[in-house]
Symmetry: D3
Subunit: 160 residues, 6 copies
Amino acid sequence: MSLTHTDQNGHAHMVDVSAKTDSARVARASGRVRAAPATLALICDNGLKKGDVLAVARIAAIQAAKKCWELIPLCHQIPLSGVTVEFELDHDNGTIHIQAQCKTTAPTGVEMEALTAVSVAGLTLYDMCKAVDRGMSIDTVRLETKSGGAGGDWHRGAQA
Amino acid sequence: MSLTHTDQNGHAHMVDVSAKTDSARVARASGRVRAAPATLALICDNGLKKGDVLAVARIAAIQAAKKCWELIPLCHQIPLSGVTVEFELDHDNGTIHIQAQCKTTAPTGVEMEALTAVSVAGLTLYDMCKAVDRGMSIDTVRLETKSGGAGGDWHRGAQA
Amino acid sequence: MSLTHTDQNGHAHMVDVSAKTDSARVARASGRVRAAPATLALICDNGLKKGDVLAVARIAAIQAAKKCWELIPLCHQIPLSGVTVEFELDHDNGTIHIQAQCKTTAPTGVEMEALTAVSVAGLTLYDMCKAVDRGMSIDTVRLETKSGGAGGDWHRGAQA
Amino acid sequence: MSLTHTDQNGHAHMVDVSAKTDSARVARASGRVRAAPATLALICDNGLKKGDVLAVARIAAIQAAKKCWELIPLCHQIPLSGVTVEFELDHDNGTIHIQAQCKTTAPTGVEMEALTAVSVAGLTLYDMCKAVDRGMSIDTVRLETKSGGAGGDWHRGAQA
Amino acid sequence: MSLTHTDQNGHAHMVDVSAKTDSARVARASGRVRAAPATLALICDNGLKKGDVLAVARIAAIQAAKKCWELIPLCHQIPLSGVTVEFELDHDNGTIHIQAQCKTTAPTGVEMEALTAVSVAGLTLYDMCKAVDRGMSIDTVRLETKSGGAGGDWHRGAQA
Amino acid sequence: MSLTHTDQNGHAHMVDVSAKTDSARVARASGRVRAAPATLALICDNGLKKGDVLAVARIAAIQAAKKCWELIPLCHQIPLSGVTVEFELDHDNGTIHIQAQCKTTAPTGVEMEALTAVSVAGLTLYDMCKAVDRGMSIDTVRLETKSGGAGGDWHRGAQA
């Protein structure tokens, strides 16, 4: 087993995928923002009056997915064919759950695009709430499922 | 208490900081990547042979700090006067600790820049190791300290 | 009278503002999107159910203001200290009025940032509605007022 | 009839085009900049001495077409296979006519790319002439024709 | 013989490649940085202690290859399927040799991507060493070979 | 003597300039493109008919100067207060001379911005002429002079 993104000397390269053919691919990632109850209440209130808070985070996430190749140095430029981002407020546990799904038809997968969308959604929520709650944290950003491509499908629960 | 990044109608805006003066500011953020022991061993081996893995993540983090205003929709464009990014491999707990520190002299702070650097460092490590370990997660991305500005200093431990 | 952005040979350059000092500046621009009544009704409905349509256009506008220097080749890189974007639906005349205001403290003005914000808000509205109304147009994108700087204030009505 | 870029809850998403196949597509958009006669004369003079003014606007427009996906939050990343931008000075009516045509082979169309090119050409002309004519406006930015794709062809005159 | 990137009036356009089909393409470019012996020694020392200098230049080069379409106004947006960047220190001649290879499957070639990678690698080396050696120069940035596409193969030695 | 852009472990960082004050700075860089006589003649002809070739390269150079911080990983974000780019065709020696000058008022210099402008001007000329002359090379990209800042002035001739 060895790292794919470095050569035998340990030097970084963009992995050659020229021999791979395009296939339909989907990846879904998730994460959560932990916040104080009062912060969650403010986000909820903003939503009740048709506010922009979750919309801003959703747009930031979609745009970040499209810019993944620019942020992550060795990522390929993948044309996304669809992105969705969902939020769920969990007042009991003081968390905002984030889910992002990305699709493409390409020679390589969109896991990084989905993970980037989740991370930037979390960062954007932090930004908009930081004046009232600097102690927030972004947690458990991880891949949930991926499908398509020669590597086959992967589901978090099924890995054991 | 109300959200600063939305107006009385809940609409997003870039907060007006034109009345604030420049001051020296520092922010430090941290996070961790949880990985399988074999993944940590590969990163460690890469380092032993002078490989690029941690260097790639460090560069990605520094560049992301500079692009924070582009990723986070309501962030101001802050000229950074210094960025450092450090990694620490903790084999016992299967984690890579990430720390980023950003400095500026500006009317508003650099918390988001430091948090963005940590997140993108984590995403870059995920990218380079994902072929061997899709189950990795990025955890506990949070602000550690900030200083400077009218808001005063903030330290994680001191908030209680 | 001659063009400031080209030299005596007609060649483009970024105008030298190194002798100018920072001053507080504000610019406000406006424009309108003309659409079919059914399109306006859909945007209105989306708003009633707390939808994202106007929020997406607002965020796109704010981000475009920050990227103005990248889009307009001879623009200076101006750090914005505040941006607001407002929409008003005028069902009688079948138009969406767009207003953007940008602020900075800089050696040169933010007219282009405000005009870029309005244009990109209009383009984003077109994008989201084009499947139902390809005939929409973006009209009367223009500066309303600017203040600050050696050039003094300017108001549209006062120019005659 | 409903908006395609928001889901049943009104939330924004990047529309899933993964089931669509690539096809050759063309879109042509137009717009005009209204300026004072003296401003048009200066642009004309610049052209007579082989100046850069229209060239700068043309280049800005081509580059903006390539960046459309970055400016318009829900746009797909479309690889353009050709872009042309034309200007026509109409001294009698005090306007500069702008036309842009974009081509691609992709699962979705290039209307937004053509409209963005026209808008940024107009903004760039405004920028270069603003010191002599702040009252300029950008008008009637609209789609003229599109062809290709499942949606079929569309021509402005034919919509009635 | 005429320039392909301008029309019969000399106006710039993005060349229409819509009639061309995708094919596998490779381009390799090279260049060199001339530096004082002491500068080369510092780079070498940095490498001996597993330093980041060459890694930073390599990452900058790979990222620049992906952004070529954004830097070079008339370049098409080409999705790269692989990039490698190599350095060789030549202490006798006081030069660092840079080689970059880019691959794609696209309707047009990747010569500009490879040349951009080499140039940005050189600029990045200059940046990191400029405090000790402002006299460095970047030389002989040129295409070595290209293959694929209707234009056929090209090798530097074979052109005479 | 040691490298400023890496710490004692050889790790890259963005150099901390927070203790430095703003000062007026200027840097001038140069380079040349070597081309076949027929290529130079085509560029010259394009100029005679008021063509865009040199204008495109000039605009690309100015925009690249503004994006230097994005291309060169450890560069600071410097707001440029003026950029000029000049070309001179030397038919006898088969070269196009490129000169770029950048100005700023900032805590650190603009050498990299000027060098990046020259490099991207050269790459853009290569791009527009490559269909007729793949053998072109970009040579002798180097700093000519810099002034301002604690480091003092530097002139190429004066370094011996």
